[in-house]
C-alpha cells in the first residue's frame, strides 16, 4: 500500500456520437495513488469533470478484473496499455509517474465504429459468432459427458484458445484491422474438440466469410494482435485456422456429388 500520490495529464479522445467529429482534450488528474487502477483514475477524473459541468468521459468497462472483455482503451499507442497480457482494467497507476502525459484513444477500426468518446461498437464479433461459433446440440439431447474421452493436451489447448475474452484488442492492434486472432481462437476452440468435428469445415468457412463480409482487414502475419492480447492467445491458432480453412476449401471442392444432385 502506497501513500505517495502524484499527478498526470490524460489526453483523451472526445467524440459526441457515432460519425461525429472528435478531438483530443487534455485533463489534469491530481492525487493519483499508485494502487489505483487505470479505470479508477478515470472515475476520479469523471467525478471532477462532472462537478465542473463538463460531461464525463465515456469508457466501456464492467467486470474490472480482466475477464468480461468490455474495457477497450488504447493507452499510449497500445491496446490495453503498457503491459503484456493485461487488460485495461488491470492496468495500475503504479506504471506511471508524476507529470506523465497519457494518451487515451478508442479502438480504431471501421468494423468497430466509435459510439462515444472511448466506447466502440464491437457487435461485429457477435455476428461472427452467430455465423457458426457453436456446436449444434439441442438442450437435453447431450450424451453422457464421459462417453467421449478428450486427451488432456487437447482439452488444455482448446482451453488456451477458449480463453479469449472478445475484447477486440487484436483488431485494434492490427495494422490491417484484421480479426484473425479472435476468429482463429473461436474456430480452434471448437475445432480441436471431438464434439466440434461434425461442423468443423462448415464453421471455419462460415466464420471466415462473415469476418470478411463485416469489413475486417486481412492478416499479413505481423503478430501485433497476439502481442496486444490480454489473454495472450497465441497466433499459432491463426496458422491452425489457415490450415483448417485450406482443408475445408479443398474438401468441399472434391467431395463427391450424388447423382441427380447437380440439377
Amino acid at each position: 500500500m502506497s501513500t505517495n500520490t502524484f499527478s498526470v495529464t490524460v489526453r483523451v479522445w472526445r467524440q459526441d456520437g457515432p460519425g461525429r467529429p472528435g478531438a483530443f482534450a487534455d485533463y489534469p488528474v491530481a492525487g493519483v495513488n499508485p494502487d489505483m487502477s487505470f479505470l479508477e483514475m478515470l472515475d476520479v477524473l469523471n467525478d471532477e469533470l462532472t462537478m465542473k459541468g463538463i460531461e464525463p468521459v465515456a469508457f466501456a468497462h464492467d467486470c474490472r478484473e480482466g475477464i468480461c472483455g468490455t474495457c477497450s482503451l488504447v493507452i499510449d499507442g497500445k491496446p490495453h496499455g503498457p503491459h503484456h497480457g493485461v487488460a485495461s482494467c488491470q492496468t495500475y497507476m503504479r506504471s506511471y509517474k508524476d507529470g506523465d502525459v497519457i494518451v487515451v484513444e478508442p479502438y480504431r477500426a471501421r468494423p468497430f465504429p466509435v459510439v462515444k468518446d472511448l466506447v466502440t461498437d464491437r457487435s461485429a464479433f457477435d455476428k461472427i459468432q452467430q455465423a457458426g461459433g457453436f456446436i449444434s446440440i439441442r438442450t437435453g439431447s447431450a450424451p453422457e459427458a464421459n462417453s467421449v474421452p478428450v486427451p488432456k493436451e487437447v482439452a488444455d489447448l482448446a482451453m488456451d484458445a477458449a480463453q479469449c475474452i472478445g475484447c477486440g484488442a487484436c483488431v485494434a492492434a492490427c495494422k490491417n484491422s484484421s480479426a484473425m486472432l479472435f476468429v482463429a481462437a473461436k474456430v480452434s476452440h471448437l475445432g480441436l474438440l471431438p464434439q466440434g468435428q461434425p461442423e468443423r469445415d462448415r464453421r471455419v468457412l462460415a466464420m471466415v466469410s462473415t469476418m470478411d463480409g463485416l469489413g475486417f482487414g486481412s492478416c499479413t502475419n505481423q503478430y501485433e494482435c497476439s502481442a496486444a492480447c490480454p489473454k495472450l492467445i497465441s497466433h499459432d491458432f491463426i496458422a491452425r485456422m489457415n490450415r483448417d480453412y485450406a482443408k475445408a476449401v479443398f474438401r468441399s471442392a472434391f467431395k463427391p456429388v450424388a447423382a441427380g444432385a447437380e440439377a
Partner: protein, 640 residues
C-alpha cells in the same frame, strides 16, 4: 396480501420433478411459434433459457444492458460448477449434493427445489461438454474434479480459473445459434426499466436504448427475468460494475414479492480494500483454500511484522484450529465471520488491519512452485497485478467481500413469481440456496433453471394463455409505464445538484457494509433505516447527472441503478431487522452461540420472508412461506 403458493408437487421428494414434468400442461407444437417470450438477461440463466425456448419453437426476444451477451457477469465466476456425477467414486450422489446444499443453506431453502437442482446437475455437465466447454481433464481423457468449500466430496467441474467464462461462452454459443436461426431476437445495450402488468399478468417491459436513449415498449406472452444479483448495493463487491437490481426492483414495485433480501453472501477470499477511490473488490477463487492455509498472528503486536519473520508457534491457523474436520474448507459464511472475528480482535494484517494471510508456503513445499503455478497461476498473476506482491514468496492478504445475494424475487416451484407470467431465474430469484450458497452452486442453478426447468414450466403457464391473446404494446398500461420511465429519467437529469452519483453510491455502500454486512444488530439496522431514507432524499435533491437523455450517458445509467439501490438497501435492512435469528449469510449478533456460531430459530423463522410493495411511502408487507422439511431433519450446522 400476496398469495404465496409454492406449488411444490406432492409425493416423495425424489420423484416430485419427474411426476411434475409428466403432469404439467404442454403447448401444441404448432402453437409454440405464436407465443412470444421476453428474456431479460443473458447470463448463464438467461442465455440458456432463451436458447432452449427458441429451440422448442417459441419466439424469443432477449434484452441485455451489455454490448454483447457474452459479457454478462457470469463470465467472472472462477471456481467451478457442482454436479452429482460421482466420477471420483467418493460416495457422491444426487442425495448428497441435495443434502450438502440444504445444510450449506442453513436450512432456509425449499427442499423440493434443491432436490431438483441436484437431479439436473448431471444433465448440465453433459450439455456443457456437448457444447464444447473445455472442462479440465485427467490424463485418461475423462473429466477432472476438485473439492470446494462445504463439501467432503470432489464434485466440482472446472475450466482452469475461468469456469464461469467457459460455461457462459457455451450458453452464449447456444444463444448465438438461436439468433442465427431466427428464433431469438437480441437487443443489446437495452436496459429494462419497467415491467408492464396487464390484468394482473406480466405482459411486457419498457426498455431504454443505452446508445440512443430511445425508450421502447415490448409486449409478450410471458416475461422471464434473469438479471443477476444485487450485491452492488454495497458499492464495493466482487460484482461487475454494471450489475444492478433495477429489473427485479421495478418488478417488485409492480407487485412481485421480494424474498429474503437480507441474505448476503460474503466471500472470505477477496483482495482487501486499499483506498476510497476503490471501485471493485477482486475475488481470489475459493479453490485457493484447497491448498492455501489461512492464518493471523497470535499476538496483536505481530500484525505488521513481515509474515516470514513470524515463527510457526506464533501463528494462529484459526480455521484449522476451530473447525478441525473442514479446516480451511469450511463454508463461506463461517470462514468470513471467523476472519472478521480475528480482525475485530486486532490481529488483522496489513495497514488497514482488515486482512488475513492465505499462505501457500506449505503447498509450495509439497507441490513445488510449478505445481502451485499449474493449479492457480492465473490467480497469482491477478494478485500480483493488483497488489504488486508475489504470492509465491509472501502470503496473500485476503479479506471477506460481498459476493452473492441469496435473496431475490420470490418464485414458486415453476420459477414463476406471484405475478402470473413473470418468471425469474438465476441469481435474480431467491430459490435454491437458502441463507447461504455453497461454492460452485450458483452456476449450477443458473444453468439448471435455464436449460432444464424453465423450458417445461413456461409451457405450463402459456398453455393457460390463448395464442394471440397478448395485449398490444400500444395499450394503455404500456403507454403509462413508458411515460413514467421517461419522467423518472428527465427528473434525474434536471436536478443538477452538487454531488456526482458515485458519491451517493459510496455512502450507501458504507451504511450497508457497516450495518447490514457481515454482522448485524438491531441498533445498527435501526440506524441504517434512518440514514438510508435521508440519503435517498438528499440524492433526489442534490445529485448531479450531467449530459442529456438522448445519447449514451453512463452517469444517467448509474443514477437510475443507484436510485433503486437506495430503495432496495432499505428493504434489506428491514428484512434483516425482522429476522430475529442468525442463519447463513444473515448474522445477527444478538443470536449467536458462545463460540460465535449462528443461532437459528427454527420455531419462529423457518420460513421465507417475501416482501410485498404497498405503495410509495408505505411500509412494505412481510409475507411468509413456511419451509416444510419432509426429508431432511433441521439440525445445527456443524463443520467442526
Amino acid at each position: 396480501m400476496a398469495k404465496l403458493d409454492s406449488k411444490v408437487p406432492p409425493g416423495e421428494l425424489s420423484g416430485k420433478w419427474r411426476r411434475h414434468k409428466a403432469d404439467i400442461r404442454l403447448v401444441n407444437p404448432a402453437n409454440k411459434r405464436k407465443y412470444e417470450v421476453i428474456v431479460v438477461g443473458a447470463g448463464l440463466a438467461g442465455s440458456s433459457a432463451a436458447a432452449s425456448l427458441a429451440e422448442m419453437g417459441y419466439k424469443v426476444s432477449c434484452f441485455v444492458f451489455h454490448d454483447s451477451p457474452r459479457r454478462a457477469h457470469s463470465i467472472a465466476a472462477q471456481g467451478g460448477i457442482n454436479a452429482a456425477k460421482n466420477y471420483q467414486n467418493d460416495g457422491d450422489s444426487v442425495y448428497r449434493l441435495f443434502y450438502d446444499t440444504i445444510k450449506g443453506g442453513d436450512y432456509r431453502a425449499r427442499e423440493a427445489n434443491v432436490h431438483r437442482l441436484a437431479e439436473v446437475s448431471v444433465n448440465i455437465i453433459d450439455q456443457c461438454v456437448a457444447q464444447g466447454v473445455p472442462f479440465a481433464r485427467e490424463y485418461g481423457g475423462l473429466l477432472d474434479n476438485r473439492s470446494f468449500g462445504g463439501a467432503q466430496v470432489s464434485r466440482t467441474f472446472y475450466a482452469r480459473g475461468q469456469t464461469g467464462q467457459q460455461l457462459l461462452l457455451g450458453a452464449y454459443s447456444a444463444l448465438s445459434k438461436g439468433i442465427a436461426s431466427g428464433g431469438i431476437t437480441l437487443h443489446t445495450q437495452s436496459e429494462m426499466l419497467d415491467l408492464v402488468v396487464v390484468d394482473g399478468h406480466a405482459k411486457g417491459i419498457i426498455v431504454r436504448d443505452l446508445v440512443t436513449g430511445t425508450i421502447t415498449r415490448h409486449a409478450a406472452d410471458a416475461v422471464i427475468l434473469a438479471t443477476g444479483g444485487y450485491g452492488n448495493v454495497f458499492n464495493l463487491s466482487t460484482y461487475a460494475r454494471g450489475s444492478n437490481a433495477t429489473a427485479i426492483w421495478r418488478a417488485y414495485k409492480r407487485g412481485a414479492c421480494f424474498a429474503n433480501p437480507c441474505y448476503t453472501q460474503i466471500h472470505p477470499t477477496c483482495i482487501p480494500v486499499t483506498g476510497d477511490y476503490q471501485s471493485k473488490l477482486t475475488l481470489m477463487s475459493e479453490s485457493l483454500r484447497n491448498d492455501g492455509r489461512i492464518w493471523v498472528p497470535k499476538r496483536k503486536e505481530d500484525r505488521l511484522k513481515p509474515p516470514a519473520s513470524i515463527p510457526e508457534s506464533d501463528r494462529d491457523y484459526y480455521l484449522e484450529r476451530i473447525y478441525p474436520s473442514f479446516g480451511n474448507l469450511c463454508p463461506r459464511d463461517v470462514a468470513s465471520r471467523a476472519a472478521k472475528r480475528v480482525c475485530d480482535e486486532g490481529r488483522g494484517v496489513g495497514i488497514s488491519g482488515l486482512g488475513v494471510y492465505l499462505d501457500f508456503a506449505e503447498s509450495i513445499g509439497r507441490l513445488g512452485e510449478s505445481g502451485v503455478r499449474e493449479r492457480y497461476g492465473n490467480l497469482f498473476d491477478i494478485y500480483k497485478e493488483i497488489t504488486n506482491e508475489n504470492a509465491y514468496k509472501v502470503p496473500m492478504r485476503i479479506f471477506p467481500a460481498v459476493h452473492y445475494t441469496m435473496g431475490g424475487l420470490w418464485v414458486d416451484y415453476n420459477l414463476m413469481s406471484n405475478v402470473p407470467g413473470l418468471f425469474v431465474l438465476g441469481e435474480a430469484n431467491f430459490s435454491d440456496h437458502g441463507a447461504n450458497r455453497l461454492g460452485a452452486s450458483a452456476l449450477m442453478q443458473g444453468l439448471g433453471d435455464g436449460y432444464f426447468v424453465i423450458p417445461y414450466t413456461v409451457g405450463d403457464y402459456l398453455a393457460s394463455q390463448k395464442p394471440g391473446s397478448r395485449p398490444s404494446a400500444d395499450s394503455q398500461e404500456f403507454k403509462t409505464a413508458e411515460v413514467e420511465v421517461a419522467l423518472t429519467t428527465s427528473r434525474m437529469l434536471s436536478i443538477k445538484g452538487k454531488e456526482p452519483v458515485s458519491h451517493y453510491h459510496k455512502r450507501l455502500g458504507q451504511i450497508m457494509w457497516q450495518y447490514c454486512g457481515m454482522a448485524r444488530n438491531k441498533e445498527g439496522l435501526e440506524k441504517a433505516l434512518q440514514e438510508i431514507p435521508a440519503l435517498r432524499k438528499e440524492f433526489w435533491e442534490n445529485v448531479h447527472v450531467p449530459g442529456s437523455g438522448d445519447t449514451m450517458n453512463q452517469s444517467l445509467e448509474r443514477a437510475g441503478r443507484v436510485a433503486d439501490f437506495l430503495e432496495l438497501g432499505e428493504l434489506m435492512c428491514r428484512d434483516a431487522l425482522a429476522r430475529e435469528e442468525s442463519c447463513g449469510g444473515h448474522f445477527r449478533e444478538e443470536h449467536q452461540y458462545p463460540d460465535g456460531e449462528c443461532k437459528r430459530d427454527d420455531v419462529n423463522f423457518a420460513h421465507v420472508a417475501a416482501w410485498e410493495f404497498a405503495g410509495e411511502g408505505k411500509d412494505p408487507v412481510r409475507n411468509t412461506e413456511p419451509l416444510n422439511y419432509e426429508t431432511v431433519k433441521m439440525s445445527v450446522r456443524n463443520y467442526k
